[in-house]
Each structure stands twice: as C-alpha cells, then as structure tokens.
Amino acid sequence: MTALLSSIALALWLSAAAPAEITVQAGEDLPKVARRALGDERAASELKALNGLESEALREGTVLKLPGPGRALAVSALTAARNALRQAGADGPRNIEAARQLADAEALFQAAKYQEAAKAADGAWRLVSADARGPTQFSVHVDGDGKTEVKAKAGQPVRVEAEGVVQPLYPGETVVVTKGEPPKKAGEEPPHPALEAPIPLFPAEKAKLELKPSPGGLGPIALSWKAVAGAAAYEVEVVPAAGGKPLSLRVEKPEAKIDALPAGKYTWTLRALSEKGRSERSAKLLFEVAPDTLFLKVKTTKWK
C-alpha cells in the first residue's frame, strides 16, 4: 500500500514536472515563438538557453522545450526584489550588494536557470527589504466553502501551494485560493494554461462534399470543431490542395460557413485564439468539393 501511494505520488510529480513543448511554425523565429508561448519576445534568450540553440533562426516543425513552473517562481521573486530595490535606492553598501545580487538573478533568469535566479533575487530582496527582518507573520482565513485567503504580513515570504501551482507571497501581498483552483493573487488573473489546439470535426479527413452550384462555385460548406476552453475566437484556414490563395476566416463559435468554393480538393486547419495568445495549429484535414450529381441529373433531363 505504501509503495503504491509512493508510486502514485511519484507519477503525479513526474506528470506535473513534465516540460511543455511548442512546435515552430512557418516564418517564425525565436522572438516570435517566445511571444506566442510566453507572451514576451524578450523571453527569446530563455528559450535559446533552454534549448541549447546557437541562433534565433528556426526551422518550421522544430519542437522546442518550454520553461516549467519554476519560471513563475523566479518571476515573482525578481518582481519583489526589483520593487524593494527601487524603493530602497542605490546608496549604501547593503543596497549596492543587493543590486549586484539582483543583476546576477536577472542574468540567471535569462539563462533559464530559474531556481538559481529565484534564490539570488530573494537574497537581494532580503538585503533591502525592511519587511525581511524580524519574525515571519502571516494570516490564513478559511470560509464556509473552504475558500482560503492568505496574507503575508512581515518577515520572509511564504509559499502558497494549490493544484500543483506554487505562489510565493511577499509581505503586503494577499492570495485567494478557491477549492480546485490554483492560487490567485489579489487583483491578478490566475495563471492561464496554454490554449489547446482545436480538434476539427467536419468535414472529416477525405470527406467528399457533394454540393449545389452557388455564386463562386459550389456550396455552402459548413465546418465545425470541438470548442476549446478559454478560446475567445478561432482562425480557420482553407487551402486549395493544388495550390492557390488560402481562404482565412475568423469566427467566435466552433463552426464556420463558407458560401462557395470551386470544385476541387482542399485542406483545412484552424487554431484557437485568446487575449493571451494562439494555440498550436490543429491537424490538417483534406476534403473534396464536388457537384451534387443528383441535382445535375435533374437539371439536364430531356423530360423538361
């Protein structure tokens, strides 16, 4: 029983610790990938270090490793240290040493050494923050629904863990945790998971759509896919298989309608969009647009 529980705990830890990946798309370099994955082009240096790259040029289809949860910890520690140092000023040996440690932390962060960066930033914070001296004080309040509010009041930062997310809390900061959700700092949105790539449903792979004539070709063509949690809109692309100008659509619902397409074969793909970024492209499906033979037969009969 003990071994089983240990195995489950280990498996959970391993799955939580598994690094996320991203696939490079056509025309993307490292800053563009950094913007898509981490919301900031400046994170290109982190991706470069994390993946052992020598330049920012990338080949389409390359799979890059993304930072793990340690990055969020480091960002929090760096933010606290920068704020404390800004308030403390640059005078005095203590502050000069703190500034040196913060510079080290920034360099470690750029090199994707997040744990070392967090420790260095925390050291800088301790040197200049008056709150860091004296006893550590914090309060915890639990309401009838189990919702927890944690407030760090003085001393060292405390660590709030929920749903596999760890949130350092510095004096003066408050975090609220609802059951089954990660910690959310007051006035801050919870960490957004990456948008999943949509799963196209219709037209299915190699589907043959027999359609009636319509201005511009044959139609209408209805496309649908599984809704993606957190998506505000979808970007659909239909490309003639024989080559030609792709048709792009942007819709808010998990469905789209194209009035008409010339007869022929097409591929279609899509991705989910939100204010935080775009998902990976969905699988590419092939379909064929062909005239409705029954309809044509009626039109050409001699009986008329």
Binding site: H141, G146, V150, R159, E161
Partner: protein, 147 residues
C-alpha cells in the same frame, strides 16, 4: 519464574500506559504533545483524536496530533508549538493539530485550518510552519520558498 515476573511487569507497564491521561480527557494518541493552548478567551473547546466529545480547554492544555480546537463567538486562543512557532486562533475558528508522520508523498503539516482565521508567527527565521486548509497549503520559514 524470572520470565513470569518479566511478563507481569511488561503487562503492568502496558496497562499503565493505556490508562494515563495528561489532559483530563480521553487518552492522548501520542506520547509527546505537539503544542499547548495558551491565552484562552471566551469559549475554547478541544476534541481529542480518539474522542467524540468537545471538552472545555484550560490554559496549558497539551495538544496531540489529530486533536481539534474550536473557538466560539468573541473567543480566541493561542496555540504554541514545541518548535517555538505559534498560531493565534480568532473567533469561530476550527483547527486540527496535524500528524507528525505524514503519508508517503505528502509533506508535513503542523496545523490544518478547517474554518475561521488564524494569525501565525515564527519567532526565529530558522523555524518553519506549515498550515493546510481545504484548498491550499501555506509554508513559511527560512529558505522554504524556493526549495
């Protein structure tokens, strides 16, 4: 004869250990208290891990693992842990003194807050304190944040 006497002595010792009660309630589940109650104000009650009844607490009541403490309206209490850290319970709080031997894969917890408010303080930066709630775990103490 010598072995009979030894067995008798062992049996007596076991019987004595099973009936000893250091708190005035039911038998404590652990030999060493994890904490003591202090500065009681208003209605403060304790339920032992092995008991079903809430009994009035008194100053210096020892608290063992899995004991529960609750405070009534306009009441408060102070839980002093043996490592020097302490937790102040506000009114209408319900807490449980956590297990010393955590289950495999789980970190140690000192106190579980089931309801209400607590204010925690670590006297020394070398101490650590872990507080669990139904939705989160809070850890405090030197060098604990980035481990």
């Amino acid at each position: 004869m010598r072995s009979t006497l030894a067995l008798f002595a062992l049996g007596a010792a076991v019987a004595l250990a099973c009936t000893s009660d250091t708190s005035g309630g039911t038998a404590p589940p652990a030999a060493e208290p994890r904490a003591h109650l202090r500065d009681l104000k208003g209605s403060v009650k304790v339920k032992r891990a092995a008991g079903d009844d809430w009994v009035d607490a008194t100053a210096e009541t020892p608290l063992f693992e899995n004991d529960k403490v609750k405070t009534g309206p306009d009441s408060s209490a102070f839980v002093a842990f043996s490592n020097g850290s302490h937790v102040a319970l506000g009114e209408e709080a319900l807490v449980s003194i956590a297990e010393t031997s955590p289950r495999p894969g789980l970190d140690r917890t000192d106190v579980t807050v089931l309801q209400g408010r607590i204010d925690a303080e670590l006297d020394d930066a070398k101490q650590s304190l872990s507080v669990s709630t139904p939705s989160a775990t809070v850890r405090a103490g030197r060098e604990i944040v980035f481990q």
